[in-house]
């Protein structure tokens, strides 16, 4: 007797990219938020309804539009010089993005280079670089950044440099560790036998293998750097006024706090929080995804 089997016809499902991303616990919302902030930063000129640096003194301290006294002309209100808060937030995204990304990249290049050299060459070079790294790690980072900013004077590119030379240590430490194990591997030994110079090996064989780790560290560092920039600007040694940096806006808003001008404090802070939170969530996910060794960090 033949066994009758029912044939199940499954509907052909086209696996949508989005759905598969959602299943793989990809932090979709944080990634979207970061993309949105990046787009806002790029198209700030188009999006901002007003000039972020020029206000009208007749329109000072206007509250957001839904409060009494507010108008839709200034959606999120105005500050002590009558400048539009929304426009300043939009241009502030540009500063945070530019400072955050360039400082992280600068720190990454510095730390990765030193980490590779230290790990691969070993010996006294390793000793010197690692002692310097230890000393740097011992310094309270923000205090050191304030010190550097105080002597260098406030400017956007000074801040990038200062944050870079304050936060490179983590890259150097982690990457050195990776290089120590990489240099015992076959392909590196073969390259030595084949007569490659030390610099060629470091550049062509070691570097491509530690790039992933550097990217993960960079994402995790982004949040730290953005908070540091905001703190420096808040203390008056970061981005100089009248540039619309979020930290600077908080510092200006502090004066109006006691009379209840909450919008000058709450909005810039929320922007910083959204950006840092998203960067941290994305960094955590990348860490687990790209580099299982880093899960313990």
């Amino acid at each position: 007797m033949a066994i009758q089997t029912e044939v199940l016809v499954l509907p052909a499902r086209s696996p949508s990219r989005l759905a598969s991303l959602r299943r793989s616990d990809f932090p979709l919302i944080p990634a979207l938020i970061l993309c949105a902030i990046a787009l806002v930063a790029i198209f700030a000129n188009v999006l901002a309804p007003h000039n972020p640096e020029i206000g009208s003194l007749t329109a000072r301290f206007r509250p957001p539009f839904w409060q009494a006294g507010g108008s839709t002309k200034y959606l999120l209100g105005t500050d002590q010089l009558g400048r539009d808060v929304l426009s300043r937030l939009i241009f502030g995204a540009r500063i945070s993005m530019v400072v955050g990304l360039t400082a992280v990249m600068f720190a990454g290049v510095l730390g990765t280079t030193l980490g590779i050299i230290s790990g691969y060459l070993g010996g006294w070079v390793d000793q010197v670089i690692m002692r310097i790294t230890d000393t740097w790690l011992a310094l309270p980072a923000l205090m050191f950044a304030i010190f550097l900013a105080a002597i260098a004077g406030p400017s956007l590119w000074n801040i990038v440099l200062i944050l870079g030379i304050t936060y490179w240590t983590r890259y150097a430490r982690v990457i050195r560790g990776e290089v120590l194990s990489l240099k015992e591997r076959e392909f590196v030994r073969l390259a030595i036998v084949a007569g490659c110079s030390k610099w060629t090996i470091m550049l062509r064989h070691i570097l491509p293998n530690v790039i992933n780790t550097a990217i993960v560290l960079g994402t995790l560092e982004l949040g730290v750097v953005i908070i540091a920039e905001a703190s420096l600007s808040f203390l008056g040694v970061g981005v100089p006024p009248p540039e619309p940096a979020w930290g600077l806006m908080l510092s200006d808003g502090k004066q109006g706090l006691m009379v209840g001008r909450w919008w000058l404090t709450v909005f810039p802070g929320c922007c910083i929080m959204l950006m840092v939170l998203s960067a941290n969530l994305l960094g955590d996910w990348l860490r687990v995804k790209l580099d299982p060794q880093l899960r313990q960090l």
Partner: protein, 306 residues
């Protein structure tokens, strides 16, 4: 053991040396320190006088010698703004910073340890998820913004707490929380992972096999052992807290060393800035050394391993 301690002290001295070189070097590389040492608007003659007085017309090596010699005498220079020695200023502000750090630390432990334990025994449940959110926010929110929002809610709208200054215990609540949240998050994370590690160990399994009630296993066998790394971290963090409270102290006008640093930056009072950073760096280098040595005394694997 003696060799290990000797080496640690050697590293510590080396770090202190590098710290002094770094600070010395950066001041001179980024511009003429004479312009930092005179008050703004000084004449050329004043500048030359200052250069001569502080030996800035000497070779760099001699300058470094003078710099170190005065440091060795505990001389951090004279504040322009307050017209008193920097060391006296620093020491007068230090107790306030320590006071704030101790209260913030106590707060962070009171929040961090119980919630960490709770999260570890309820993995994946409500408390664990709540703890994760608390940690994430604590590590992502800038402490000065937390401070500003606290002022807005508790001083401006509710009128319960004073917004700035020092004096009564009430003045401490908001700055201690703003400073302590980040550390509470760090302590919670470590308590959770440390508890999970201990809960999976053989002796906890044995305690369970003996039939001890869950509460006793957690409180007596697991918790005590899981606490060791947390308390070590807390010890180091306390010293870090004293030195990183700058923004929180500025928000709440708390008269500690962080605010002194800020005043130094604002008034371009350079000797103060340099003094505070040197003292902060030295403090942390020394504490790290002490912790390393104590660890080696307690755990022979560390000193024999190296």
């Amino acid at each position: 053991m003696k060799r290990y301690i000797g080496r640690r002290i050697g590293y510590c001295l080396l770090s202190l040396f590098l710290l002094s070189v770094t600070i010395f070097f950066f001041v001179r590389v980024t511009g003429d320190p004479a312009t930092l040492l005179v008050e703004p608007g000084a004449s050329q003659a004043d500048l030359d006088a200052i250069r001569h007085q502080f030996g800035l017309d000497q070779p760099l090596l001699v300058q470094y010698g003078i710099f170190m010699a005065s440091l060795a005498h505990g001389d951090l220079g004279q504040s322009f703004y307050y017209r008193t020695p920097v060391l006296d200023l620093y020491l007068s502000r230090l107790p306030n910073s320590i006071y704030l750090a101790v209260v913030a630390m106590a707060l962070s432990l009171v929040i961090g340890i119980p919630s960490g334990v709770l999260a570890s025994v309820r993995v994946g449940r409500f408390w664990d998820n709540f703890g994760k959110l608390f940690t994430l926010l604590g590590l992502s929110l800038p402490s000065f913004w937390v401070g500003l929002v606290l002022i807005l809610v508790f001083s401006v709208y509710l009128g319960w707490l004073p917004s700035s200054g020092a004096g009564t215990p009430l003045h401490l609540i908001m700055p201690a929380f703003a400073l302590g949240w980040y550390f509470a998050a760090a302590h919670m994370r470590l308590t959770r992972s440390s508890m999970l590690e201990v809960l999976g160990s053989e002796y906890v399994k044995l305690a369970r096999l003996k039939g001890l009630p869950q509460s006793l296993v957690i409180a007596k066998h697991a918790f005590k052992n899981a606490l060791i790394p947390v308390l070590t971290l807390a010890g180091i963090n306390l010293v870090i807290m004293v030195n990183v409270a700058t923004v929180v102290e500025v928000v709440f006008a708390w008269p500690g060393i962080g605010r002194l640093l800020y005043e130094g930056v604002t008034f371009r009072d350079f000797p103060v800035v340099q003094g505070v950073v040197l003292m902060g760096g030295a403090m942390i280098v020394i504490v790290n050394m002490v912790v390393d040595i104590l660890y080696a005394v307690i755990d022979p694997r560390i000193r024999l391993g190296s």
